[in-house]
């Protein structure tokens, strides 16, 4: 998936961040605390409010980082629901963990990363949940050579992300919590209620979490949903549902900015015009909501039509136009890439998309040029 907005309010800040420290090598995707190091420092410098134990910034400062602050020149990074961010920040100050739930592509992981970066200065204490995750990957593992040679010791212990976070008093991120087998996920119950990790191999040793520890988890409702979580585990979390952006204008602005950012990073000199962006956003909104802008009912394809996917389509269309069509980006490029996005593994989606083209796109093609160009892509279906 294409990376989301990496440039802060200031494109130059990012570049100087990376080039300032010559010992830091260029990476494909830097963590948020490095990308926004300048902004975080700026906010910390002007932060006069009280900080909870273990937090690098006060809650209001964290809010300013995520939602933007015009007086400091900090750009907004999370769009759509300011109250959600408030609730998340307050939850992280409490004894309960935070579980962000939502459709794929609604920026849950991005929000999780931003919060961890702002609160603890480190968003890399991350557990990636898969159906093969085991407790070693969550809590701690062993260096088996040392273990066999010296027996259990602090040196032989390989701390997992949870261990590191508890020791340091930082945020631990747990992506895709619901992909993990329920039996494995249940190990979190005692960690979250006692805020302590038992390490029986080291004798009577218990690791008590330092202040500032908490867990930010994300869960995708598409695959298995949160139904399989045990109720004991559910009780330890506050659930926040991240919804796709409802405001069309806001979504357009977001997609335009992010796609442009990607193009700038790849050093591609192509400007997106607003017609194409509007076409992209409208097509995505139609297919996501199951009803066109004119009110005609459409069948929703099973593929996820999130804003992140829209950015990916926009970017791919721009690349297509730049390299194969002299930079003349029009509806046809969007249409072609859209087909590739929607048609994944469900054969019925093809019929639904054809229907969309034949009914909605055709009707709009009669009066609007971008849609006419998009209709040309119908041949590819």
């Amino acid at each position: 998936m294409a990376c989301l907005i990496r440039n802060g309010g200031n494109a130059t800040t990012t570049e100087t961040d990376q080039t300032m420290d010559p010992t830091k090598k260029r990476v494909l995707r830097a963590p948020a605390e490095d990308v926004y190091a300048g902004q975080l420092a700026q906010i910390a410098a002007s932060d006069r409010d009280a900080r909870p134990a273990g937090w690098r910034l006060s809650p209001r400062a964290v809010r300013r980082f995520v939602l933007g602050d015009t007086t400091l020149g900090i750009a907004r990074k999370f769009y759509g629901d300011d109250a959600l961010v408030d609730r998340c920040i307050v939850t992280l100050m409490s004894h309960r963990g935070l579980l962000l739930v939502g459709e794929p592509g609604t920026a849950k992981s991005m929000l999780s990363e931003l919060l961890a970066a702002a609160i603890s200065g480190d968003s890399t204490c991350t557990i990636q949940g898969t159906s093969g995750s085991n407790e070693d990957q969550i809590k701690y593992g062993w260096n088996y050579a040392l273990l066999l040679a010296e027996g259990p010791s602090e040196r032989a212990l390989v701390p997992g992300p949870m261990h590191r976070a508890m020791q340091r008093g930082a945020m631990c991120r747990f992506e895709e919590l619901t992909r993990v087998q329920p039996e494995i996920a249940d190990c979190l119950i005692s960690l979250l209620s006692d805020k302590a990790m038992q390490i029986p191999e080291l004798g009577e040793s218990t690791l008590f979490a330092a202040p500032g520890f908490n867990v930010i988890a994300t869960a995708n409702i598409r695959d298995r949903g949160v139904n399989e979580m045990s109720s004991a585990l559910k009780r330890r979390f506050n659930f926040e549902t991240v919804k796709p952006i409802a405001d069309r204008q806001l979504e357009m602005r977001l997609i335009r900015e992010q796609t442009q950012a990607l193009l700038d990073e790849a050093a591609i000199d192509l400007q997106l015009n607003s017609d194409v962006v509007e076409l992209l956003v409208t097509a995505f909104a139609d297919l996501r909501n199951g009803v066109s802008a004119e009110g005609i009912a459409i069948e929703k394809p099973t593929a996820v039509m999130s804003s992140a996917e829209a950015v990916a389509v926009g970017y791919a269309a721009a690349l297509d136009a730049y390299y194969f069509a002299d930079g003349d980006l029009h509806g046809g490029h969007v249409g072609r890439q859209l087909i590739g996005t929607v048609l994944k593994d469900e054969p019925t989606d093809g019929a639904k998309l054809k229907h969309y083209f034949d009914v909605i796109v055709k009707a709009r093609a009669q009066t609007q040029a971008p849609w006419r160009q998009m209709l040309a892509a119908r041949a590819e279906l």
């Binding site: 109250a83 609730r87 409490s94 739930v101 949903g225 506050n238 659930f239």
Partner: protein, 792 residues
């Protein structure tokens, strides 16, 4: 952008020596508390309140000891040209206007409403609305910007953040300055042209003039004149320099009036919602009750009060949803802490309503279940809205419609003391007075007034013996009845006129929705009008039915129309109008129904068609003088042979026999033809069902029928029998146990054996299952080559 004026300085001018122009927001507890404190410190000589001036006559009723909010003034007017308009002016306990008028009553201070009179304002508005519209605040772009800067979602949250939370701890001067700044900011979004166009300037000029008049009246008094009005208008009214407005020419009115009605908190919430007024009356009400106990509060005390209220709300909510979800104490505690954390994060002095809502969202909801979330949040909203109901004094002025209704009820000897529900039995044919009562009760149903319910109407049997046609009703006069009658005043000042107008409007709406197109629906409307005694509409409705009969091509609908018209002619009183207009309609409907039933494809669903035929036969037998029986006989003869559905054919054959169109031989011919012939078993069974559905006595009277059924059953194999058994059972299901015995006796007589043994406790469904299992077992054995094991 031009520099902002000095709002503090302007606010100081509002609290003068001679005149105090006190800016409020309607239903705001913060404003109510500050106003109460002000009036205690500087008791006014006269109190003026923003509200239509012609409501002043209702002030004694509002000040009555029995009046309890929430209640509302309901005002209506009907112009001579038929234009109608109705509106509400609600009061809550925490409304500053309520506080002001009650203070005036308690201390004997003259008080009046000083806005443009209701009667003088124009417009034919289809929707009833609130007279306390605050959309200027909601639509202000300045306030929206302020809201987003302060991190508030909407103007409601902004208001609570800026006013409801801090106000009880602010001084009067500070509070007034803030409200003025708020409203004046909003005013910057509107040009003078806008304000002229929506009538605001006219209202402000009128109120300014009233203020001057009051000042003149109280010139010799030391105490000030107090004007309580919406903050948006405060400065404009004080600084008004336009000349006194022209005296308003009232419209030519047919009728107008205003009365008090009790209101519920839910209605208040809804009404305020439309008018952009304060929502969640329950939340604000409880806070007000606590806060009015003291004059000045410290911020710490306010924080505690609001936290206490949030906690009790969270506990109540946990209690309410306990059935669906158990919320343990730690969760409630966590929610309260969360709400407090949010209040601190959002830099509020104390917990606001939205903080509680957010806390519920985070802590009480688990998972992505949207339905669960909706249920929880609506339960919370219901608690925040409240469910209280107000009360109005009993013996105050009423509107003409209410007076007329009560007079008529009295004439009909209905008891309106409302102590308990009463029942009455009305003999429609024998007593004209009872007919009048029935019409009044039907009229109340039509007008949507909660007063009476019909327990029983004339039955079919009674339709035959007119002398016994009775209706039974249960009725009780409650405050809701009175309120509904008052609110129906917009239809007219008398029951008859209101009924006529309301009925016409309902009919128009139904026609617009396309609902009265079928014959059955059109006749239902006609019946409604007749029951309610609406004579005037009869010609129009007859016209409607006439048209519907032409347009409608569905036999079942036409048959229903016939039945309804027949019922109207039989069971109701026969008066001149009905005698002339209904019979032609009945004839027409009769002709169309029978004619269409014979057209291919027009008769529709066969079940419906068969029941239609049965009903038409009943009508023919009951009232031979009203309908042409020959037409029916012709149709039956035709349908018995020509209808494509065997069900309908069976029905027609049986009815034709019953009406002597077919004799025995012809009946038996057709029975045999269907049941012993080469028809598919399914069709044969349908035919049988049609026959028995129409005339079940054939089952034990006609030996030929039993004979042919026997032949039919013998011709089937076991699999077919089990397959068609349910439908066969359906054919015989209408028989009573006694009749079933008679059939059983006839069957055993036919097969020459003893009477069929009783099956006792075996359920029919079980029998079916056993038979099917039997068959399956037999087939399995046969497949394994062991059919000789099966008992012969």
């Amino acid at each position: 952008m031009s520099a902002l004026p000095d709002y503090r300085q302007q606010a100081r001018t509002l609290i003068g020596d001679r005149a105090i122009v006190f800016p409020i927001r309607h239903h705001s507890p913060a404003c109510a508390l500050q106003l109460a404190a002000l009036m205690r410190v500087r008791p006014p000589a006269e109190i003026l309140i923003e509200g239509p001036a012609d409501f002043t006559s209702l002030l004694p009723a509002l000040a009555h000891s029995e009046a309890r909010p929430p209640l509302a003034i309901y005002a209506y007017q009907i112009a001579k040209d038929g234009a109608r308009r109705a509106a509400y002016y609600p009061f809550a306990e925490c409304s500053p206007e309520w506080v002001a008028l009650r203070f005036a009553a308690e201390h004997g201070i003259p008080c009046r409403f000083v806005d443009l009179p209701f009667a003088a304002t124009a417009a034919d508005e289809p929707q009833e609305r609130s007279l306390q519209d605050e959309r200027h605040l909601q639509r202000s772009a300045h306030l929206a910007l302020l809201a987003s800067r302060l991190g508030c979602r909407d103007h409601e949250e902004l208001w609570e953040h800026l006013f409801e939370i801090p106000a009880p701890s602010l001084s009067l001067a500070e509070h007034v300055a803030r409200i003025l700044a708020y409203c004046e900011l909003a005013r910057r979004d509107y040009t003078q042209t806008d304000l002229f166009a929506d009538g605001t300037l006219a209202r402000e000029a009128y109120m300014a003039d009233e203020l001057q008049q009051a000042l003149a009246r109280q010139a010799s008094s030391d105490a000030p004149v107090l004007l309580v009005l919406g903050g948006f208008h405060a400065l404009a009214v004080l600084q008004a320099d336009t000349p006194a407005p022209r005296p308003l020419k009232p419209r030519a009115l047919h009728d107008s009036g205003a009365a008090l009605i009790p209101f519920s908190q839910q209605r208040l919430d809804r009404l305020n919602g439309y008018a952009a007024g304060m929502s969640a009356p329950g939340w604000h009400h409880h806070l007000y009750l606590t806060l009015r106990g003291k004059l000045l509060w410290t911020p710490a005390q306010l924080r505690r009060v609001r936290a206490q209220q949030a906690l009790s709300l969270l506990l109540r909510l946990a209690e309410d949803v306990r059935e669906r979800r158990a919320l343990p104490m730690p969760t409630v505690r966590a929610a309260l802490d969360h709400a407090q954390g949010l209040a601190v994060l959002r830099q509020r002095g104390a917990i606001a309503r939205e903080d509680v809502r957010d806390a519920v969202r985070s802590n009480y909801l688990q998972g992505d279940d949207d339905l669960d979330a909706d249920n929880m949040l609506s339960a919370l909203d219901a608690l925040m809205t409240g469910s209280g109901m107000g009360q109005v004094p009993r013996d105050t002025g009423t509107v003409p419609l209410l007076r007329d209704f009560m007079t008529r009820a009295h004439v009909c000897r209905l008891k309106l003391d409302g102590i308990e529900a009463r029942q009455t039995s009305l003999q429609l044919y024998r007593r004209p007075t009872h007919r009048r009562t029935s019409q009044l009760l039907h009229a109340s149903l039509l007008l949507g007034i909660p007063f009476a319910i019909k327990l029983a109407g004339p039955s079919i049997a009674q339709a035959v013996d007119l002398g016994r046609a009775t209706e039974r009703w249960q009725y009780q006069y409650t405050p809701a009845t009175a309120a509904a009658i008052v609110e129906a005043s917009v239809h007219g000042p008398s029951v008859e006129e209101a009924l006529r107008h309301a009925f016409a409007r309902q009919l128009d709406q139904a026609l617009a929705r396309g609902e009265a197109r079928s014959a059955a629906a059109a006749v239902r409307w006609l019946e409604k009008a007749c029951l309610a005694g609406l004579k005037a509409t009869l010609p129009q409705l007859a016209e409607l039915v006439q048209q519907a009969l032409l347009d409608d091509a569905a036999v079942p609908s036409l048959a229903q129309a016939v039945v309804a018209l027949h019922r109207m002619l039989r069971s109701e009183a026969l008066d001149e109008d009905r005698l002339t207009s209904l019979p032609p309609l009945l004839t027409r409907a009769w002709q169309r129904a029978l004619h269409l039933s014979q057209l291919p494809g027009a008769s529709g669903d066969s079940e419906a068609c068969a029941s239609a035929l049965v009903e038409l036969r009943v009508v023919a037998e009951t009232s031979p003088q009203l309908v042409d029986r020959d037409l029916l006989d012709e149709a039956l003869r035709y349908l018995a042979d020509a209808h494509p559905s065997p069900l309908v054919r069976g029905c027609a054959v049986a009815l034709a026999y019953a009406r002597d169109v077919f004799d025995e031989t012809q009946l038996q011919l057709r029975l045999r033809g269907h049941l012993a012939g080469t028809l598919a078993p399914g069709d044969a069974v349908s035919f049988l069902r049609g026959v028995l559905g129409a005339t079940r006595e054939l089952a034990w009277q006609q030996a030929a029928l039993i004979e042919t059924i026997d032949t039919l059953l013998r011709s089937w194999d076991d699999a077919s029998f089990v397959h068609y058994l349910p439908e066969l059972r359906l054919a015989f299901c209408e028989l009573t146990p006694h009749e079933t015995d008679r059939v059983a006796a006839a069957v055993s007589a036919h097969i020459g054996g003893e009477v069929v043994p009783e099956f006792g406790a075996i359920d029919a469904l079980d029998l079916q299952r056993l038979l099917a299992a039997d068959l399956a077992a037999q087939q399995r054995l046969a497949a394994d080559g062991l059919s000789h094991w099966w008992p012969a």
